[in-house]
């Protein structure tokens, strides 16, 4: 495709903005219909217990009640890597908020009244509410029957309360640490949970008709919903159709099956349409949080400032069921093990069961806190060896031909030129001097993220009116990639303007399999599949035009809605004419495309338990900020924030800038305000917007942004995902800046005013993890133990 074709589609404005502003967009929560039933879930109020008695007969007789379902209606177990998660608690409950029964009634009030009529006796069992308790000697097991669960992906070590373990071991780490000339630096970090707080809660409307379920839902992953619902209900996946209205925010919350199976069961049992929407409190208590984590990292640094050896232990709380954390153990090697050249490295990353609400995916999952830990550790190294942090980073960042932690060979010098761009960006608008008694600090950090590739499918139908219809299972969650990048890519390929490309909303009956919208993959994976499909259509159009114009196909040019003989403007026909002619002559023109991960290799034998051993498309980021810290109250104000982001190729700079501003602000929430933790009763303590504090308009600054283009990418037109990575090193950058401002060791996030004030007055307790053993090998689960 030519530069001109790309220019013609650049900066296409999203077509869904107008209706969203007019209040006309109908999200899943807005979809009601006459005769619809309303559902509600009975959830456990205790973190651990045996269900001695469950009797729903009285509830079933309550006024307006049309269906009641329990574990007897959903025999399956699902999961990622391990099938450990039933739809309803069966013999035991494992967390506060775990569903026990579901009711559908004529009104929500009647459904809730019926919940109160369910008899459930739960005998309390000992609970492990944090990873320290879970990994203690003789800790009660969250899943005593773990050995009996079906293993869906082979290779991860498991045992007791360790749901999954991924490890990396490359080079001779012991030898590196044993060198007489190295400086050994050890750091420990702890982070809390983060709630997505998407404004639209998880919500679903389900029907059962003609032997099939139709699930209309607010999700990022229609195919996961289809397949997981089928597994849990014990029905064929082909019996389930999933469609997705506009999604009112996801951020990873909706990257898993959620309420859909409950609504599907109730729809089948009642024969009616069933709506189920989480209350805000249910969302607060059971959202699939970014997990709390505990990290110990040690490095052996040579006198020249190179990193001879590194070892790290990362504990990730998966909550009561493995879920996404099983997969995310994979990411530690690429995030905590990323950014820098390492002589030798060993890392273990463990997903740990606790009797708490399950955690899940959240924008730049795992990377956010591992980057915080890595970058704070990096600053501690620089201080320990007396090197400026910028110089240390410049010397050690991954460049062309360097090995990553898993032995992957990286291509291209990306981070070093980005660091130079950041220095220039900062020079344009230097740090302000404070005169109000506050402490000032600044920091620059680097980060490594990736595009979650994986399978996608697309079909492009060329219509006789000159428009094209793109059919995929992609979902518009707000990022705009379905509204902008995909029609732009198809339009550029077909010589159309993007407004001529209609994008079908996800429907698993209409489009092929897709991993889902998340992991920065929409533009890349769905984009590549869409481009392939569009190329097939273009080839067919040119062939038809070649017949019509009596010219060789290779002499034809497709642009501006026309197909012309090269060099003879006006000689050809409109695309509509060609499509119409082709349709009459050969039948409607269409093309299909598909995409799958490239399978970039790691070094043989150095990883165990990883779902992704090497990154197909690495994405890099350099962040910088200035902060002011109030020494009397601990308030941190971000005065300026700067981002240099590797985007491969920017198809829509305005959209990317919007993602960066939004992602950075979400990261500022994680860094400074957003705290979610588990109380002694096993409930999440922050139950509402009052106590869970996201950034408000007064708390943000305009981010200064520079895009770095040209880094290698297998994405279509050289693109990379740009929406996920902006949050990656915000926690890291703010933490490093606060450490610089205060001269204190920052080991925890978020840096709320009480936590910062405790640091300032030397009352903060450094994280101590007795359950992380001193010897690295003692943190590994022997397979089959």
């Amino acid at each position: 495709m030519s530069e001109t074709a790309e220019k013609a589609v650049q900066d296409f404005r999203r077509r869904d903005a107008r209706d969203k502003l007019l209040g006309r967009t109908r999200y899943t929560i807005d979809r009601g219909a006459a005769g619809m039933l309303h559902a509600a879930l009975l959830r456990s109020d205790v973190p651990s217990g045996r269900i001695a008695r469950l009797d729903v007969s009285a509830a079933a007789r309550m006024p307006g009640v049309r269906a009641v379902v329990t574990h007897e209606d959903a025999p399956g177990r699902a999961g990622l890597g391990i099938a450990d998660h039933p739809l309803f608690a069966t013999d035991v409950v494992r967390y506060c908020g775990e569903p026990i029964a579901a009711v559908a009634a004529e009104s929500e009030a009647e459904a809730r009244a019926a919940l109160a009529a369910i008899t459930v006796d739960i005998e309390p069992l000992p609970a492990v509410l944090d990873m320290g308790a879970s990994l203690a000697e003789d800790a009660p097991l969250v899943h005593p029957g773990w050995q009996g669960y079906e293993v869906l992906t082979q290779g991860g070590a498991r045992g007791g309360n360790v749901a999954w373990e991924a490890s990396v071991d490359r080079g001779d780490v012991d030898a590196a640490f044993a060198r007489s000339d190295v400086t050994v630096v050890e750091s420990s970090f702890r982070v809390g949970r983060q709630n997505h707080l998407s404004l639209e809660p998880r919500a679903v409307v389900a029907n059962y008709e003609d032997g099939r379920y139709h699930i209309e839902t607010s999700t990022q992953v229609p195919w996961t919903v289809r397949n997981t619902t089928a597994t849990l209900l014990g029905v064929p996946a082909s019996a389930i159709r999933v469609t997705v209205p506009p999604v009112g925010g996801g951020f990873g919350l909706k990257f898993d099956c959620a309420l859909e199976p409950f609504a599907a069961l109730l729809a089948r049992k009642s024969g009616r349409t069933v709506r189920l929407v989480n209350s805000r409190e249910e969302e607060m208590l059971t959202c699939l949080f970014r997990e709390n984590a505990e990290i110990r990292i040690r490095s052996a640094v040579a006198p020249d400032g190179s990193i001879a050896g590194r070892e790290a232990v990362v504990l990730m709380d998966c909550g009561a069921y493995g879920g996404e954390q099983v997969f995310l153990t994979t990411m530690t090697a690429h995030t905590l093990g990323g950014n820098y050249r390492l002589g030798a490295v060993r890392i273990v990353s463990r997903a740990v069961y606790t009797n708490t609400a399950p955690n899940g995916a959240f924008r730049a999952c795992n990377g956010v806190y591992n980057t915080f830990a890595l970058e704070r550790h990096t600053d501690e190294i620089a201080a320990a060896i007396g090197m400026a942090p910028e110089a240390f980073r410049f010397k050690n960042v991954i460049g062309d031909g360097d090995l990553g932690a898993t032995g992957q060979v990286f291509e291209g010098d990306v981070l070093a030129p980005m660091l130079e761009k950041m220095a220039a960006l900062r020079a344009k608008d230097p740090s302000p001097q404070l005169t109000d008694g506050r402490l000032s600090g600044r920091a620059t950090t680097v980060g490594t993220w990736f595009v979650f590739t994986g399978p996608s499918a697309a079909t492009v139908n060329m219509n006789a009116d000159g428009s094209a219809t793109l059919v995929t299972s992609g979902v518009e969650i707000g990022s705009g990639s379905m509204m902008q990048a995909l029609p732009q890519i198809v339009a550029a390929t077909l010589g159309l303007t993007p407004d001529k490309v209609v994008v079908r909303a996800a429907d698993t009956d209409a489009a092929g399999y897709d991993v889902g919208v998340g992991g920065g993959r929409t533009t890349v994976s769905l984009g590549a599949a869409s481009r392939t499909a569009a190329i097939e259509v273009r080839t067919k159009l040119l062939k038809v035009a070649s017949d019509m114009l009596e010219a060789a196909a290779e002499d034809l040019v497709i642009a501006d809605g026309r197909i012309e003989i090269a060099g003879a403007k006006g000689s050809g026909a409109t695309i509509a004419e060609v499509a119409s002619h082709g349709q009459m002559r050969f039948g409607p023109l269409s093309g299909t495309g598909s995409f799958a991960a490239a399978g970039t290799p790691a070094m043989a034998g150095c990883c165990a338990g990883h779902f992704i051993e090497a990154l197909d498309i690495p994405v890099f980021a350099v962040h910088d900020c200035d902060v002011a810290v109030d020494p009397l109250t601990g308030h941190v104000e971000v005065l300026a924030y700067r981002v240099v982001q590797d985007v491969g190729r920017a198809l829509n700079p305005s959209a990317i800038f919007g993602q960066i501003q939004g992602g950075v602000v979400q990261g500022l929430g994680y860094a400074l305000h957003e705290e979610a933790d588990v109380g002694p009763d096993g409930h999440i303590r922050q139950k509402s917007f009052e106590t869970y504090r996201v950034p408000l308009a007064g708390d943000v600054v305009p981010v200064a942004i520079e895009l770095h283009e040209g880094a290698p990418s297998i994405g279509p037109l050289g693109t990379k995902g740009a929406g996920e990575v902006p949050i990656l090193n915000v926690g890291a950058t703010v933490a490093c800046a606060v450490a610089n401002a205060t001269g204190k060791t920052v080991s925890e996030l978020p840096l709320t005013p009480p936590r910062v004030l405790a640091l300032l007055i030397d009352e903060a307790q450094a994280p101590v993890f007795p359950h992380i053993r001193d010897r690295h090998a003692d943190n590994l689960t022997a397979p089959g133990r």
Binding site: R13, G23, R280, A697
Partner: protein, 155 residues
């Protein structure tokens, strides 16, 4: 009880329990789904409507307390499909992402840009918007759009 409200210029009468939050009456009773019940505690602003021209969190407003009053929802700000200056500016500034906050945001900004109660500067606009949570955009484009409308109004 029977409640009578003027909604978007039209008098509507219907039966509702008096403590029913106004947002539920608008959505369930009148099918005006623009206002979103998100936090139901007055902190997010997604359910904001104008009551006698004052931005009001409809989640904390018992319908009986607004009996006989003039309610304007996001749907009522426009006639037909032409956007208001606020909506046009938000579109022009490419501010929209998931969109859930915008019905309330548009109501808040409509008041802010027309009531003369807010100084046309960033700090004042941000202070006036602290009751409208947006989880996607990081706010700055929304502030830009508001300032553009206020500046255009002063020309």
């Amino acid at each position: 009880m029977t409640i009578r409200l003027t909604v978007n210029g039209e008098t509507r009468e219907f039966a509702a329990a008096p403590m029913t939050p106004l947002v539920d009456v608008l959505r369930d009773g009148l099918h005006l789904t623009g206002a979103k019940p998100v936090c139901r505690e007055g902190f997010c602003g997604a359910c904001m409507v104008l009551v006698d021209a004052v931005p009001t969190v409809a989640c904390l407003t018992p319908v009986a307390l607004v009996e006989g009053r003039d309610i304007e929802t996001v749907e009522g700000l426009t006639s037909g499909e032409s956007p208001t200056p606020v909506q046009a500016a938000l579109e022009e500034h490419d501010a929209v992402q998931c969109g859930m906050c915008f019905p309330g945001m548009v109501v808040a900004l409509t008041h802010l840009t027309t009531s003369g109660t807010c100084e046309p500067n960033r700090a004042a606009v941000k202070e006036a918007l602290v009751g409208n949570v947006c989880r996607c955009t990081g706010y700055e484009r929304i502030v830009d759009a508001a300032l553009a409308v206020m500046e255009a109004g002063h020309e």
